[in-house]
């Protein structure tokens, strides 16, 4: 039998080894399990050249993802644009600012990355039903990818989710179960359902594989910057997993010799109404005190973050910051990004842009730092957040004369974009 790149699963806390099955908790110490790779094998097959010759999707990093088959479940997710943000940079006094625009993925959020990997692995493990606990974006991704792969789909969401996200999942025709409670309660139920029903819950029992998909947001940025790591990244945090995996991606590239030694500062962006990780960082502790979320950034509303400890530790270790921003700042962040860079992000992106602004104001980012802001979802998903807060149409009759007088009026007013 050919040597496999997945050796098994390994407890991140006590190192206990397990078979590469649908498991996510260490039976001995209850720590989270991670994929244990055969890096010797990977080292022998991966190079800048091999990656560049791969598909224009995250599967160009197949060698570093936890699947054994080349027959992957894909909608050509990943390899999203890394935009040079000249206007926003100029406004903030940053010369090397970039936006990683992951809202261009097939279901309009970065969740397509983790789901493509998770469903491919779930199918390899023999599952015919996939499920998730979701704040919305994941529900859409699981529903779409599960449809493509002909898998049965059950998605669990909090009942108060934005309508845009409910429709955005419903259109792919999954079973949607709305729970009267917070995401944390949804998550607890899903852990029980996963045990009882033996389904592949992408972010429960498939989590060790699923979470690895986020590494590609580290890989891509490094590749797109010309095989170098950024000086600073600003990452939105819900469970904290994305932040830890972006770091892992940079670390793996470094260990495989694909980039030089990196000193990337990881900054954690959260909403003030749900910022348990940022709070811990600011109190210089990795003890995460769970909170009951209250924020318009619902995709980040996880009060008891599974990877919070690791995220907080990495931020502190790399010299980054924890930032939490108000709902008003989030809306301003969304409008600022759209009006300077043409990118319409959902509330999570508003959180990262507002956090960027705060970091600059506090002198935490030097003008020449190569800085990457992660925008993880599309603004059409959270229209409610900006409704009534953006430019409205001027209604006139269909007469040239009426337009001329409106135009005169507009000329006398200050142009909208200079108000920022």
């Amino acid at each position: 039998m050919a040597v496999k790149k997945i050796k098994g699963l390994k407890c991140k806390e006590c190192g206990q080894l397990y078979e590469a099955k649908a498991l996510h908790v260490c039976e001995f110490c209850f720590g989270p399990l991670e994929v244990d790779y055969n890096y010797d094998l990977i080292q022998s097959s991966v190079s800048r050249k091999s990656i560049q010759a791969g598909p224009i999707s995250l599967w160009r990093y197949w060698d570093l993802l936890p699947v054994e088959s080349h027959d992957v479940i894909t909608l050509e997710e990943g390899y999203t644009p890394l935009l040079r943000a000249r206007n926003l940079g100029k406004l903030l006094g940053l010369n090397n600012l970039y936006i990683k625009n992951d809202s261009t993925n097939p279901t309009f959020s970065f969740k397509d990355r983790v789901v493509s990997v998770a469903l491919t692995r779930a199918r390899e493990l023999g599952f015919d039903t996939v499920a998730c606990a979701s704040t919305g974006n994941l529900a859409g991704a699981v529903s779409a990818y599960g449809a493509v792969a002909n898998l049965k789909r059950f998605v669990f969401i909090p009942a108060d989710l934005e309508e845009g996200k409910v429709i955005g999942a419903g259109v792919y025709n999954p079973h949607i179960i709305a729970i009267e409670g917070t995401y944390d309660e949804v998550n607890r139920l899903c852990a029980e359902v996963a045990d009882a029903f033996k389904w592949a819950f992408v972010n429960v029992n498939i989590r060790p594989y699923y979470a690895e998909g986020s590494k590609t947001l580290g890989f891509e940025v490094a590749e797109q910057l010309g095989w170098r790591a950024p000086d600073q990244v600003i990452v939105p945090a819900a469970s904290g997993s994305l932040l830890t995996k972006i770091h892992k991606g940079l670390q793996e590239f470094q260990d495989l010799g694909l980039i030089d030694r990196h000193t990337t500062k990881l900054n954690c962006a959260q909403a003030a109404g749900c910022g348990p990780i940022a709070t811990a960082i600011n109190e210089h502790t990795d003890l995460i005190r769970p909170v009951r979320p209250k924020t318009i950034a619902k995709s980040l509303a996880i009060g008891n973050p599974a990877d919070g400890v690791y995220a907080a530790q990495l931020v502190m270790k790399t010299g980054g910051q924890g930032v939490s921003v108000s709902d008003e700042e989030i809306v301003e962040g969304i409008k600022l990004l759209a009006s300077t860079e043409g990118v319409f992000t959902e509330t999570a992106g508003g959180v990262t842009v507002a956090s960027l602004k705060r970091l600059v104001q506090n002198g935490k980012i030097a003008p020449d730092d190569v800085t990457v802001v992660y925008v993880t979802g599309n603004g059409l998903k959270t229209l409610d957040a900006v409704q009534g807060k953006v430019s409205r149409p001027h209604v006139i009759a269909a007469r040239l004369q009426d337009f001329r007088s409106l135009y005169e009026q507009l000329l006398n007013n200050v142009p909208a974009h200079s108000t920022i």
Partner: protein, 93 residues
């Protein structure tokens, strides 16, 4: 009166399948020591080699997380309810 300690499913093999056991102790630390006496092997699952409570094990006294009280020195009142809960739910199989 001894405290009532709730044992999570993955550890019940060590308590003869009992979900709730009664043990005495002035503090959580004492209580863990008596638990180990009554049910050998239990403590190493809850505490690491240095005796610290493992990061992914939460202990609640009357519903309050001891991390935000006095940690292992948290007092256990007469007849208190103590819950031992893995931080990441699920995975009992």
């Amino acid at each position: 009166m001894p405290a009532k300690v709730r044992i999570p499913a993955p550890l019940r093999k060590l308590t003869n399948d009992q979900a709730v056991v009664e043990v005495t102790g002035q503090t959580i630390q004492d209580l863990l020591a008596s638990l180990e006496k009554q049910y050998p092997g239990l403590k190493e699952r809850i505490c690491d080699e240095s005796g610290q409570i493992r990061r992914f094990v939460n202990i609640f006294v009357n519903g309050e997380d001891i991390r935000f009280k006095q940690g292992p020195a948290t007092p256990v009142s007469e007849g208190a309810e103590v819950s031992i809960i893995p931080a990441i739910a699920g995975g009992t199989k």
